[in-house]
Symmetry: C2
Subunit: 425 residues, 2 copies
């Protein structure tokens, strides 16, 4: 008796499709693919007829509770946006709002085919609770700013978060340390973070080289790029997920490759905040691991990873005047298996036996999927996030036929309205 | 007794929302907005509760029947793509395929909130028939290539198309002449087009300055940019919709402004074919009219205008390192009223009395629309094309609750399969 079988489904394996097969799932992992005439006894069966099964997308960088600030303030200069809108709003954040903001983000991610996310924000105990309850997979980092009054407290909370949640439920939750960025974390604070990381065996999740201004300021202060400086401070020896890396030099990329720095590329957020376009094909050519992220919904403004996959495929073609810069297959891998590697999962993001059963079924009946010449091209260039119909994480169904099974949507909608009133007060 | 009333609907007017009102529609036009307690007798009533009414989007440049070649060939060098894939496939095109390809594209456009399109392709009689039957609004151009064996025939067919369809049904259909591009239309052919345009009083729809290579070649041959050269040939005196304009100089833009050349900006296609990013904020600063287009679905790969609106808002921010480059409101106007102006409709693209009743109702209940701080930001930055639920063109409902009322979807799906078999043979 296995846990779950998905029958009569088309399965995307690498760049090929296995048509009309059955996926056998047990104990959180894919066990086997068998003919529909040969399925084992199972506690649960999902009919996948007319569906394309793919790995769930991996959102490698977000501040998920910021969904509550979606469309709250847009089209402003960065400092205006932060000082007049986002920071005053965030000052109202509390446990309750962070919890429901996380629920909103997770609901959105399930609805658009994402099964794993990497988060950096505050009130991370609440985010962890929402992750446990909803069943999504997550890598959590308590954001730490050395310049903030909460600098020391953030170190304590990060340690607690790590001890309480790292490795929870077969790796459903992992914890990294989240020093926010070079411009908010002075060198002596980074040293404390490195010491804590060494003590715990914890990896790092940090914003790096997001804007031109940041890079110029760090060079002015240290004579080095942010990447070179963080490397000298020993940060990369812990293992590091670096968000953005828009403005990195060739030498930076050599360091990143040597120290196995993994990148969270956030194309939409980098466009919306006018940061620029990260040199992703150049990073891939050097063998650097790159995943994709949505960033927070205040700078995106949704948690739709399919848009990031499409942008990753599109932007670099035009930037390099090279229509082969990032082909559809590569873009899809950035959004799935490469994202999993960026989060240090080596058994995630591919639909093969012995891999984690994080699976999305896409309804391929939409007219925008027709004709069916090439389903990978369809996913990357033509599909709509709303085509995601059924979602399984760690072998458990969390959404079936668009119904969220682990989230009380009515309660969530009520809490969103309460939050809106608070932020608009 | 009026033709149609949409009740209890939120209406986007400019950058404000009128909540819970009723739209009165008669004889193809918006007549009035009245309280729900005060609606006149009407032949038909649509309940708009929970919906946001917006102008339908205007797709200013496409080759709509190419939907049948969606995902047929991608990620190739342009000439490879054309010579090994697209041209051999197009050689199989016939009346029947063009008709069903058009139906597919129109169905997709309705499903994603587009009510008007401007097309340049072959077998345009068939496209016109599909337009008449489905009720969409369209500006049609028979593509003409002076270097092709069909060059003379194309002039004859263009004239027939104009005489048969221009001005059909209160401007549901308009016809422009469609000389394909400078690199397919030698000067003597452009002269013939200009003569025909003068004879008919017809405007021009042409690909201009799409790629660096095209511009370089025209400069090499004539000493002038494509824009300057076409201006000297008298093409712009007829009134011109210029598709792409990715590689235009400051002097080009001065000519475009002086001659009222309107631009069809196709951000996604320009990315996918590695053409580049058109200088749209610069054009807008000069007072040039710019609309948005999807281009054909072989280079997009869908007919989803909401993606183009979002890209228009996003791309230029990053290119210019200016988060205010194209704000949400401007992007939305590019996709609607500015697109209408680009197609020379002066009573389209705005929900006000005396404007054409081309209206889309968006379901705003999706979690990605919450909280509701700003519905324009929601549309541009967060909404999903699949949120379009009900569509009215010229005062007639063509889609209700996602059901296509003027298209036989089952028959269409059958014909798409037939077409796929032909193109794969």
């Amino acid at each position: 008796m296995v846990d779950l079988v998905i029958t009569h489904v088309d399965v995307l394996q690498g760049n090929t499709i296995i048509r009309d097969t059955a996926i056998v799932i047990d104990n959180g992992y894919i066990k086997d693919f068998v003919p529909n005439t040969d399925v084992p006894q199972s506690k649960e069966v999902i009919d996948g007829k007319g569906m394309l099964a793919t790995p769930g997308m991996v959102n490698t960088h977000t501040h998920i509770a910021m969904g509550l600030l979606r469309n709250y303030a847009d089209d402003l200069e960065l400092m205006d946006w932060l000082q007049t809108a986002i920071w005053p709003a965030e000052a109202k954040l509390n446990d309750h709002l962070a919890y429901w903001g996380t629920q909103l983000g997770i609901a959105e991610m399930f609805r658009s085919g994402t099964t794993c996310f990497s988060d950096m924000y505050f009130f991370m105990d609440q985010t962890a609770e929402a992750v446990k309850e909803t069943g999504i997979r997550a890598v959590l980092s308590r954001g730490m700013a050395g310049v903030a009054p909460t600098a020391e407290q953030a170190l304590v909370e990060s340690k607690e978060l790590f001890l309480n949640y790292h490795g929870y439920n077969q790796g459903q939750i992992k914890v990294m340390l989240g020093p926010h960025a070079p411009y908010t974390c002075p060198d002596d604070y980074i040293e404390k973070v490195v010491n804590l990381g060494q003590e715990l065996g914890a990896q790092i999740h940090m914003h790096l080289s997001e804007t031109k201004g940041e890079v110029e300021n760090v060079i002015k202060a240290t004579g080095k790029t942010p990447i070179a400086h963080m490397n000298d401070l020993g940060l990369f020896d812990l293992g590091c997920l670096a968000a953005h890396c828009v403005h990195v030099t060739d030498e930076d990329m050599d360091i990143m490759k040597e120290k196995s720095v993994r990148v969270a590329h956030n194309p939409q957020s980098n466009l919306k905040l006018a940061s620029g376009i990260a040199p992703v094909p150049e990073m891939l050519a050097k063998g650097i691991v790159v995943g994709l992220g949505t960033d927070g919904s205040a700078s995106n403004n949704n948690a739709d990873m399919l848009e990031e996959v499409r942008l990753a495929a599109m932007l670099h073609k035009a930037r390099l005047y090279d229509p082969l810069a990032i082909p559809a297959q590569t873009a899809w891998e950035l959004g799935t298996v490469m994202g999993a590697k960026a989060l240090d999962y080596d058994d995630l993001g591919v639909l093969e036996a012995e891999y984690r059963a994080d699976i999305v079924l896409y309804d391929t009946s939409g007219l925008h999927w027709q004709p069916r010449y090439n389903d990978v091209a369809s996913l990357v260039y033509a599909a709509n996030a709303s085509d995601a119909t059924t979602v399984v994480v760690g072998g458990k169904a969390v959404m079936k036929d668009k119904e969220l099974l682990t989230i009380d949507e009515e309660k969530l909608r009520h809490e969103i309205k309460v939050a809106q009133a608070i932020f608009q007060a």
